[in-house]
Amino acid sequence: MILASPLTPLENVLRSILEWIGPHGAVGLPWGWSIIALTLMVRILLVPLTVKQIHSMQAMQAHMPEMKSIQKRFKDDKQKRNEELMRFYRDNNVNPAAPCLPILFQFPVFIALYLVLKHSNRLIHIGDNVRWLGFVPDITHHANAHWSGYVLLVVYVLSQLASTYFMSATMDKNQRVLMMILPVAFVPVLVKFPVGLVLYWVTTNLWTVGQGVVTRRLVPKKPAAPPKRSSRTPPRNEPPAGDGDGDGDGAEPSPPGQPARPPAAPKRVKRKKKQARR
């Protein structure tokens, strides 16, 4: 209720877009597919931000040995370890973690879509075309109104687990497990949500998974090129020394054609392992 008034403009925008995609609009999709199309539009808007992150992850792959050594060095001190890792990311201009702002951007969209579906009677001609894929009778009903809602909730939980798996790669193990378990605990709450919202959720999760798969495909490829050819990384970003101390930037300016650096050997080992797993 508190969120209702500030989000009303966004709710109206989403409603107009949905009506435009919807059965009586220009595109003419049934409502269920309209919601999926709207979700995809939101995610496509966010793609430029992810491209930046994929580049960052590719660059990071080259710094793996130093990161491993930091993790080993501060194995027992979580705070110090995280501080050192963050400093290392900053100094080398790589950061594997997703920034918070784009994630936060999805909440208002999500809540506004919830409001659109809650006030579904305001959508033009909502009465028709509310079925989806033949087995969901009405996407504006609560998920617990029909057995199909439970099917979708199962799909939702699976998609949530998969997307959390990809998104939480930078987290601690305990935190990661918690993040995987909690969505299941939310199911009793989610049964009261409109089926259309579950559709939004499943779609956005599957998009995240797809993005994660694409990212993982792209990432191991990059270091397969010999380090001397890494045109993406300017010379000053090269690892200083084996110990990965961010401040020790005393690397002598070596000619660009000389990759003779200690981390090169463990890097190659890492790569082989990655390829073997694939």
Partner: protein, 80 residues
């Protein structure tokens, strides 16, 4: 104690966020401590109004074009 109450309310909201939306829309953070931990620290230390401003500023900095890094609430330079 009563003066600190609004700040604690804010902290409660951050925790509520963490275990609902934070779980449903997972992601990391480019900074250490994370944005939500930064919000909790700044609310505890500087109260509701200044805490919210600091946390908001931090969130704006946690964008794809920033570098991230180590950034504690007590090292802020906005308020003295």
């Amino acid at each position: 104690m009563i003066l600190r109450l609004p700040g604690y309310l804010g902290i409660g909201l951050v925790y509520a966020y963490r275990y609902t939306f934070g779980v449903l829309f997972p992601g990391g953070c480019k900074y250490y401590p994370s944005c939500s931990q930064y919000a909790i620290d700044s609310l505890r230390r500087y109260g509701l109004v200044r805490g919210v401003i600091l946390a908001g500023w931090r969130l704006l900095r946690c964008n794809p074009w920033s570098k991230g890094g180590v950034d504690y609430a007590e090292h802020q330079r906005l308020f003295h």
